[in-house]
Amino acid sequence: MQIHYIKYLPYIRKEEDASDAMMNQGVTDTITTLDPNSLEHHAVDSSHGQPPSYYAPSTAPESASWTMYGAVNESTGNKTYPTANFSHDQRPDPQSRNNQDGLTMASVSTGSTSGAANLEYANYATTTATYPNNDPYGYGNTAYAGYYGNYQQQPNQSYPQQQPNQSSQTYVQPSQTYGQPAGAYQSTGAPHQPISTFQNTGSYPGPASYSTTYYNPGDYQTSGGYQSGNYNTQTNSWNQGSYPSYGHQHQHQHQHQHQYPNYTTDSNAAYAAQNTPAPPLQYQQDYSKQWTDYYSQTEVTCAPGTENVSSTSAPNLVSPVPVPAPVVANAYSAPNSQQVASTPSIPSSWKPEPGLSELPSVQHSAPINNVHEGYWNQGNQGYQNYHVTPMQPGFQKPMDLNPVSGSFQNQQRPEGPQGPNVQYTASHQVAQNYLPPPPPPPPLMAPQTAVPFDSNRVINKVQIPTNPRISSNIPKNNNASTVGPTKPAYISVSLPNPNDNTSSHAPADSADKPGMLPKSLRGYVERALARCKDERQMAACQNVLKEVITKASSDGTLSTRDWDTEPLFPLPNTDTINNDSTPPSSLMKTRRSPSRRAKSRWEPLPEDKPVEKQSFFTPESVKSTGSIHSIERDKQFSTGKPDNKENKFNNLKFFLSNQKETNKSIFRPAKRQHIGDGKNTPNNNNNNDSSSDSDKEQSLTAYYAGAITLADSPEEKKRRENRSKRFEKNHGNRTTTYNKPKNISPGNLYTRRASVSLLANSNSNDDGASRAVEDIDWDSLTVKGTCQEIEKRYLRLTSAPDPATVRPEEVLEKALVMVQDSQKNYLYKCDQLKSIRQDLTVQRIRNELTVKVYETHARLAIEVGDMSEINQCQSQLRTLYAEGIKGCHMEFSAYNLLSVVLHSNNSRDLLSAMSRLSIEARKDEAVKHALAVRAAVTAGNYVSFFRLYKIAPNLNTCLMDLYVEKMRYAAVKCMTRSYRPTLPVAYVAQVLGFQSTEILNENDNNNTNGLDECTDWLKAHGASIVMDNSGEMMLDAKASMASLFMPEPDDAVSHGDASLAVNDFLTRSLS
């Protein structure tokens, strides 16, 4: 995990809007104080902090089953991770969404585990709980995987500890790393009953046990070895046929797995690969099992409330397990449904989360309570309801966890009460929290998720006028998020060879848990479903599967039959297109997913061309994007391995070619959708509109899943070959199949990505000439915004920007004016300016407007002393000025100089800053002043310093403000050393700039004010003050000499500015 993190770091830094340390911190703070839950989490965190321990204990004995699960989990985890990372930015919601979206079977399963955690925490409905958890799980993929494995094999023993641990871990992670999530927590936490549950979790903390189960390298290895062995062979065989590159990737993955002990990140990748094959069914079953286990565990450890929950959940889980694929789907759906239910409310809840700082959540809390009570009920209901619909989506998308979740949500939404939603949010938060730790793998994914977050936020926050587009985006975002980065991960997870997973799982599961479907059967179902490209197929497949399973169970061969070798029934023909989808692709995706997110993120975005838009809609296009991401990931992972590059290229080629084909066919439908979305969505912003959104999501997810599946399966090879033809014929069909009536809103992101992929394809051509990502003409892909909203919240991008949420230059100009004229506080303005900056960056606008924006932001930041923003803006401005763009160059040269002098005081920096000054610059008033200040500081000349302080031009004063305390202290130290016997306080006050001496002459009141202030200051710093005969306050120099001290600032905040404290931030942003 740590390694992952590190990898991510560069990414984060790269981001122009690097997450604010303050934000994070604030989040944590809030967590601790606000959320009882969070507190508990913290406790957990401590355990969390022992990642090594995790690795150390290995559950090796059960490695086989473990590996399977772990693989699945890992893959999911990987997928989610990216999102998580990005979500760090403050968008827990997107993450959750992603999770949902991505929640293919695997995710669902993870959800179940997470659900357990949730249960413990808040007694959340198991299902809902799972959802949120799912996300987090995904993040800690490996860990989760390990958990799963443990669970399955050693359900009883390890479970109790593990479960609590997991929950705690996940929670902890969020709190630690992500301030934002914490914020979300707060909102939820306050209202939540969960507190009690959380406490339980606190008690759980068997960190040690956690560690063991979690990351055990040993487990991984074993799993890797086991699975990988199977997997690799399988994958290789698949790949060999048509996709040599795939084979390579697989091998790489294998290697990774082997390396696992060494490389956590790699292991993730590898895991993902492994996971990919695993069919959703397996997951579901596993989950259910796990759930049951969890529940049991929870009962033991958890508070009474939790126990109840667990019990309920257990039944749910159980039911899904016994039931064939459909059942499983239900189980999954249940979690999903909860989520869905929550989703309607989610917007609100989400908003708080994203806004962690801003407004998290009253809503959350309220819902949470409700959720607890109603959770299970809802969950149950939802299950039933869901069974029908959700099942299909789930199955159809078995490959794509996301789609399933999306569909679930949709279904759930109508049914699900808000209460569940609340839980959901809570879970989401958790997920968010979790996400942070996993970040390493997801980088690519993250960007996408971030986008969704934004959209979610917007939607959620009523305060901000939501753009219709944005609202529409929400679903899109989710889809996109899943599709882009997450999807690959998911895909990998879900897709993972069902066979392997199922087989391994089956024995363990069946043995351990009666009533469960054999793992191999799960695998079989997964395999069967994996072939399905779209929902229709899925449904058809499910029906067939039902028949098969019921038949098997009736004749008693259910557990005896060798499902691993059982031939798959022919795919029911719903859609030719759909049929094409196969699971294998997941492996590829997973491999790719780890690498290069950063690049993708930073790459210029594709422009909105009509064609591109069309492509957006097409599911395949989405796929293609996903593939790219995955490729990138692969690269990252591959680093260190010579073969990687080749693989990457191959993959790219592959993807590109696929995309091309798909794109062609898809475009038309996409277009339609797009139009519809654009105009219809505007009203959908409200949370209640979730149905439409969810539908969209579902459709998108389905598409994605299909696309994903397409990639690797051997079956698909042929299909791919024929695809182009099919597509041409199938256009109509596809549109219908892919695009559900409500699904119309396609993720713009997707489209973009698709377009990118298209471009890449066009470059590479079908001939297979592989083109490196670097070779793509990114310039031509630069986003052109279409958003007309002036106000927009800042969300750090975790995926390709969506043109519909990006404002064009003229709107940005208005936005800047709006910010400048705004009477709101700095936090609001900072947020707005950052979003403006983001839009500028995304559209690669570098002109005087850009300079103006950065200057405005820098000035505002200087006024409040927000050093991190000051530095960001300064460095941007330096390059902008260097490019010859006009602005207030001199003014900012002065600021720059002052920043160096006053804050870093590194002589080399100072020298370079000074030598950079031109002759004209030296003549500028502000620069001269700054140079004089520098001289005063180096000489320790406090008199001169405070004189300069009073006559400072522009905002030089504000920068100097930050140094005043230091300067005063040094001055008083100097004075006490050199003056004897005493020194009038009035003189000190005058010389050290306490109030202005000029006013002193005019107004006695001010004078005394300055005197009082000075006296207080001196006293606070340990000076001894005496009265002389005339009653004048005198500083006793000698006595003070030894007693002077620098008091700890009582308003100290780690980020250096109390005004930016999270609590404050939250309250202010609410206002």
Binding site: S907, R908, L910, L911, S912, M914, S915, A935, T938, A939, G940, N941, Y942, V943, S944, K973, C974, M975, R977, S978, Y979, R980, T982, L983, P984, Y987, V991
Partner: protein
């Protein structure tokens, strides 16, 4: 010249070079090998060979012809390419090829037990750096990112690793270190020096006095400069003085480079150079500064700083020189004290603020009472003046014993 060369002549030259190379290696003749590897020497024989190579395009065939050549093909083949590119002025390509050759050379060098090829290695290391600098200049002029010097830096680190072990080769480590310093200082990534310095100064395998004097001087010069940047004057003084005293008195340019940093360091610990020294080494930019310190002439100091600001900023001594201001103030007060003493010894230790203000006014430095009071306070605080300041009467009361303590090689308290 090349145009007159026949193919046969070209072939002859190439084989001659190859023969020499193999012979030199087999005889372990480091000095001769050194000459064979030096690109930038641009000796006539090298130029002729380069022309021959450009004429006779397929030198690799010649190398492959005989086993005795081909065993060094990894060194010689890229070296030939480097020579060819160098001859036609493509330094980036030349660097690329030369680094490849150097890599192969390092491999061989690692296998030679004795240090006979140390001289040749020095040449390789030097060529790498010089070639990288030229390549970067070429790249920059073509609008490309200059990155070769950076690459050279990492290559040199590798070479350092080869040398930094027990055995006779370790004495070569300091040479590489110095080349690394040059690279880092040029790149402005001075912080990277630290790791090398640490291994030189803490590793047991190195006995500093065992290194060649040349390298020791260079090393001390660069580390001294680093200490100047850190404003650690005693350490800087020690290192730069070592460099100065061990530097070859004949190489005045080197002495001047050392003095450029040593003088500000000495000034800041209160030691002033003789004017003749400054003149001998053409360091006249320091003349006024030294004069200002002698006279307590604040105006002159400021003027001198302003006049040579660019130079001082570039060499990094500006901030050091600026801090001499306090010593100038001290000198000024001391002068006032001496004059007062001549007038009225009994009251000489009481210096009125007004007097100092007046003195500064004569120097055309407009400062009011508060500011001068602040400066007096600082002087006392920094122990440049012994005594105290009476705010009420605006008088600085000096200690009767040694009111102006000399720095005597110690830095000002801060």
């Amino acid at each position: 010249m090349a145009s007159y060369m026949s193919m046969g002549e070209a072939h002859r030259r190439i084989t001659e070079y190859l023969n020499r190379f193999t012979d030199v290696v087999s005889y372990q003749d480091g000095t001769s090998l050194k000459q064979l590897l030096s690109l930038s020497s641009e000796s006539p024989s090298f130029l002729a060979l380069a022309d021959a190579l450009n004429l006779f395009q397929d030198a690799n065939r010649v190398i492959r012809q005989a086993d005795k050549y081909s065993q060094y093909a990894e060194i010689v083949a890229p070296l030939f390419r480097a020579m060819q590119s160098y001859r036609v002025g493509h330094f980036a390509e030349s660097y690329q090829a030369f680094e490849k050759s150097a890599n192969a050379f390092i491999q061989e060098f690692r296998n030679w037990e004795s240090a006979w090829a140390l001289e040749a290695l020095y040449v390789v290391v030097y060529e790498i750096r010089v070639l990288a600098e030229r390549a970067d200049r070429e790249l920059a002029s073509n609008g490309k990112t200059p990155e070769k010097l950076k690459a050279a830096g990492s290559f040199l680190m590798k070479v350092f690793g080869v040398l930094a072990g027990k055995g006779p080769k370790r004495v070569g480590a300091l040479y590489v270190t110095c080349q690394l310093f040059k690279v880092y200082f040029k790149l402005g990534t001075v912080h990277l020096c630290r790791s090398v310095i640490r291994s030189i100064e803490t590793a047991r395998i190195f006995d500093f006095e065992e290194f060649p004097v040349r390298d020791k001087v260079t090393y001390m010069y660069y580390t001294g400069r680093l200490e100047v940047l850190n404003e650690n004057f005693p350490a800087a003084d020690h290192k730069l003085s070592y460099a100065l005293s061990h530097c070859d008195p004949q190489s005045e340019a080197n002495i001047r480079m050392i003095l450029k940093y040593l003088i500000p360091v000495k000034l800041s610990i209160g030691i002033l150079p003789k004017r003749t020294l400054l003149e001998k080494y053409n360091l006249i930019e320091y003349v006024d500064i030294v004069l200002a310190m002698k006279r307590g002439d604040l105006r002159l100091l400021r003027h001198a700083l302003e006049e040579h600001e660019d130079r001082f900023l570039r060499s990094g001594v500006y901030l050091v020189l600026e801090k001499l201001e306090l010593q100038v103030y001290q000198r000024l007060v001391k002068k006032i004290y001496i004059i007062q003493k001549q007038k009225d010894p009994s009251r000489a230790h009481q210096i009125k603020l007004e007097v100092i203000v007046k003195a500064l006014k004569w120097l055309e430095m407009e400062m009011d009472l508060d500011e001068v009071e602040c400066i007096m306070s600082i002087l006392i605080y920094k122990n440049l003046v012994k005594g105290y300041f009476a705010h009420k009467s605006k008088v600085a009361v000096l200690s009767k014993q040694d009111p102006f303590p000399k720095l005597n090689g110690k830095p000002i308290n801060s």
